[in-house]
Symmetry: C2
Subunit: 377 residues, 2 copies
Amino acid sequence: MKITDVKTTHFTVITRTERDTDGHGHPGPERENTATMLQIDTDEGVSGYWFGANASVMETVIKPAIVGKDPFMREEIWHDLNERQRLNMGVMSDKVLCSVDLALWDLAGRALDIPCYKMIGGYRDKVPAYASTMCGDDLENGLATPEDYARFAEWAMKRGYPAFKLHTWQPPYEGAPSVKNDLGACAAVRDVVGPDVPCMLDPYHYYDREAALALARGLEELDYYWMEEPMDEHSMSSYIWLTENTSLAICGPETCEGKMYVRAEWIKAGACDISRCGVGDVGGLTPLLKTIHLCESYNMRCEIHGGGFGNLTALCAMKNGEFYERGLLHPFLDHDRPAEYLHEVADPMDEQGFVHISQLPGLGMNINFDYIEKNKV
Amino acid sequence: MKITDVKTTHFTVITRTERDTDGHGHPGPERENTATMLQIDTDEGVSGYWFGANASVMETVIKPAIVGKDPFMREEIWHDLNERQRLNMGVMSDKVLCSVDLALWDLAGRALDIPCYKMIGGYRDKVPAYASTMCGDDLENGLATPEDYARFAEWAMKRGYPAFKLHTWQPPYEGAPSVKNDLGACAAVRDVVGPDVPCMLDPYHYYDREAALALARGLEELDYYWMEEPMDEHSMSSYIWLTENTSLAICGPETCEGKMYVRAEWIKAGACDISRCGVGDVGGLTPLLKTIHLCESYNMRCEIHGGGFGNLTALCAMKNGEFYERGLLHPFLDHDRPAEYLHEVADPMDEQGFVHISQLPGLGMNINFDYIEKNKV
């Protein structure tokens, strides 16, 4: 089988979120937006898909690099693109690697008529989810106060979520960042969910050491399950120091560049208690599996960053990750409603809080090709 | 798909090797021996195969554990068996885990009609091989003297091998072990192959530190490429010490128990320059891939231990392993002749020294079922 074409299709979608000046999403007025479908075609008629791609990079860089290759040679293709990344970092970002790799996995699963997690070797068909909130805001009855988080956590428990993670306030919101406000929200959530529900915090990412430790000490008291990225992750020493100074589990790195290599260094140095990685952080499912296996070799959990088809595939083919991150959630948004271009959501969750993986071939995307065709830009 | 049965078939084969009192193989008179085929059946008519299995363990332990399960849930099955291993080490050895895991990989590839290395994600279709000799002996024109090794290395170069590895003399052979004799053979080989051919040594495995270092110093002079396991591998400290004291690359651990976990410790501690692992050392292809990914996260090669269908599959789905180990070879034996129960050898090698992987579905075994049926015991 040979790759014959790499195509991107732009189409309109309805979005109900907007981004603040720092890039964080919040609920917003319903409006039209453009999405992109990546499609890798072969000479045997089967194609693979992923959503999210830069059309010009795909056309000018990826297409010449992979057309003519066997799409099942994913390891060779990934290494080839990864090496080209060095001198083309701006163009060949980890997101580009990720899109290509996921489309190739999807293609392989569709060609063989099997879900990808079973190609890798399945571990389970369902994974418990935690409710992962959007960042704090200033919306009335949104996520503006500790009481708002408490109310939302109460709703999440009723919906069946077995665990709850707060993203708290970040600039440009007034009064942010604030250790006191973060801990206030965390305390309000603990209060309403009771002592037995695992709770986690992902706060402002540029606190200094003293603020990070104060947060950690507060979360120890509240019996929180883990904290993510309270400081710039490029300073591994800060995380060694934090991990040594708190009994709270520190989970990371997440956004730090360096794929499995940097995670190996964090583990070796004792800079984290739980590692963290998602398809989007390291350049696809191929390097995510490498990272998961690295962590497993040290008896370390790798808590998967973000949801979606690729991350759920990994979770169903691994033992050493506890939760699926479902979200980002907000009282004003309905996560159970699929995007217009999909017939089903990536992560259908039952009333016990388990997300079930699709048994469709490939990554499990049930794509509404009619919608995409009708809404082409 | 569900597993419906686990079967073993005993059949006679012709063997041309015999084992010395320490367990090492040497050429011997042609005689009949018994081999065992493991077969895992499913309700959809497809089966997976592997050679080498203890019939009673398969019947009493494995069959009750896996019948009724989906054979594609390899990760779940491997972890289940791995956990049961703790209290049943004598029965549920790594070899048992390995046979079951490989038969399940073979089953999956046959069910999907694809070679397993492409299920994992292919990296290449061929791998350079090194000629890996049997241990030293006392056979005339065999591997009894340094000159014998030199003559054999000369033959190997003509056959196309790009690299050569010696296994030297071990007890019960007279005069073994001997650092002087080992270095004599290594020098004779270097002399005949010239300065540019990578040469490696795998000597007696229970030398003490001073002997191991003397060997290493000698091999530095001879510009050898790596040395394996000159001391008992349960003493990781010895290997840290050896690695610190020589510029020769130390490759290991190989036979030490502990799967990917122990290899992670060796890497973290700096006890090796190159890691080492084969399907038989860690309980299958599933944990071998974990180990390979661990090593890759530290920019470390994982040189694959042993040949065969499972190890070649791994090599064709990884970047960080340089050579296929072809052997064990001896002047009196013909490695290019397949065993009676196979239509083709696992590792056909071209004149440039590349071993080519089979494009048959599964692990690539072209099994002579007629032979097995006719020679059933």
